[in-house]
């Protein structure tokens, strides 16, 4: 019993092969360099932003799947993260839609900043 419970598998824990970790690390570094380089090319603000966010999402997915072992974990952990991300997207999306609705009615003024004594 003791041998079983202690066994190399740790029950549920998945052991990631080291070469997978190295590949993930290399991919993350390459994507970081890529995202810096892409910024130097003018593709229009929206496209630049989209590319930067797509690269960031891919990097985040790599970290989650391999560094955080989500790919080999019980699916419930992924569901928790996925649900949170879904709600974040809803939060940001609805906020954007909302602010767009009254965008033209707000008269932004330059704030007067006063100096201290």
């Amino acid at each position: 019993m003791a041998g079983d419970a202690h066994g190399g598998s740790h029950g549920g824990g998945h052991i990631m092969p080291v070469y997978m970790l190295v590949f993930t690390f290399a991919a993350l570094i390459i994507l970081t360099i890529l995202t810096v380089l892409v910024t130097r090319v003018d593709l229009g603000g929206t496209l630049n932003l989209s590319i930067a966010l797509i690269i960031a999402t891919v990097k985040a997915a790599l970290v989650c799947l391999y560094f955080m072992h989500l790919r080999y974990d019980r699916p419930f952990n992924s569901i928790i993260l996925g649900a949170c991300v879904l709600f974040v997207i809803l939060f940001l999306g609805l906020s954007t839609i909302d602010t767009e609705q009254y965008r033209d009615e707000i008269h932004w003024r330059q704030v007067e900043l006063s100096r201290g004594p």
Partner: protein, 316 residues
């Protein structure tokens, strides 16, 4: 024996040598590990939601005022940001390696990996401190503390006599009323870039003409129109006329990176505790839950920075 433990449950497991690290309300080590991990993921989920409030502020302000972000982000150094990204990713990698070492009962390897991870965290904080220090030195802060360009510090107090005031107020009050607008003093314009960089004088008249009167409150603007271009470390241009309220960018920047920095510090505390346990030899292939959970936290810190870096430093 395994069969008995599985079917006989907790009591049988105890009799048959319940491992010391398994608490009495868990049947097996694996069950305890999965339960701990589930709890950790729930916590990480709340962390993601916690940060989403600040990301929402970022989204709304950037949506409404892309020009503030496009201009103000130039004061951030892409080099430091990219270096920090790489440091954080590398420390995430060493952390993942550390978990692997723990799974293999490789104690020296685990200790080395944790030390490397902590070193990465410390390096990140040092670079962040360098960046923050530069922002503080140049007054590029949030709200009222936003007082860029030190050489203009006396401008608002003594605007009548000082040439710098003429420079500053020409843009503000000139557009507002035209009453006390002064011609731009070329001498000051030459002196300002002497501190380093931007040809602010050359762009002063344009700013004056482009500023919209209805955007300026009565009484003039003391600070916001002061050029911030002079301290952009060379890669910023003169401030465009339609950019106001850059302090909003710095407010969001400091909130996001500050909260993230606090998480880095918290991660350092957590990993230090794990390191102590690792040195004492508490973790092995059968029990490495704290290593794994500490690692998950550290990866989350990395995850957030992966989004912060392009959003704050790489604005086109």
């Amino acid at each position: 024996m395994a069969d008995i433990a599985a079917t006989g449950g907790h009591a049988a497991a105890h009799e048959l040598g319940h491992p010391s690290h398994v608490q009495h309300h868990f049947d097996t080590s694996a069950q305890q590990f999965e339960a701990s991990k589930l709890g950790m993921w729930l916590f990480l989920g709340t962390e993601v939601l916690f940060f989403s409030g600040l990301f929402c502020a970022y989204t709304v302000y950037r949506f409404n005022h892309p020009e503030i972000f496009a201009y103000a982000h130039k004061s951030l150094s892409v080099f430091w940001g990219a270096l920090n990204t790489i440091i954080l990713i590398a420390s995430s990698f060493t952390m993942a390696l550390g978990v692997w070492c723990a799974q293999k009962s490789n104690r020296p390897g685990l200790v080395i990996c944790l030390i490397l991870t902590l070193a990465g965290a410390a390096g990140f904080m040092v670079i962040k401190a360098i960046e923050y220090n530069e922002k503080f030195q140049h007054g590029k802060l949030w709200g009222r503390l936003y007082q860029p360009a030190q050489h203009d510090d006396h401008a608002a107090d003594d605007h009548a006599a000082d040439a710098g005031a003429a420079d500053a107020h020409a843009a503000a009050s000139g557009a507002a009323h035209g009453s006390d607008a002064r011609p731009t003093d070329p001498a000051h314009g030459a002196a300002a870039p002497a501190a380093g960089h931007g040809p602010s004088a050359a762009f002063q008249p344009e700013r004056t003409s482009l500023a919209e009167p209805n955007q300026l409150p009565r009484g003039g603007v003391k600070l916001s129109t002061l050029t911030a271009g002079g301290h952009d470390k060379g890669h910023g241009g003169p401030k465009p006329a339609d950019v106001h309220n850059e302090h909003i960018f710095y407010g969001i920047y400091f909130c996001l990176t500050g909260l993230h920095g606090l998480h880095v510090l918290a991660g350092m505390v957590v990993l230090s505790c794990v390191l102590v346990g690792a040195v004492q030899g508490r973790y092995h292939a059968g029990y490495y839950t704290p290593v794994d959970l500490g690692g998950l936290y550290w990866h989350l810190v990395d995850l957030i920075w992966i989004f912060l870096f392009p959003l704050l430093y790489l604005i086109h």
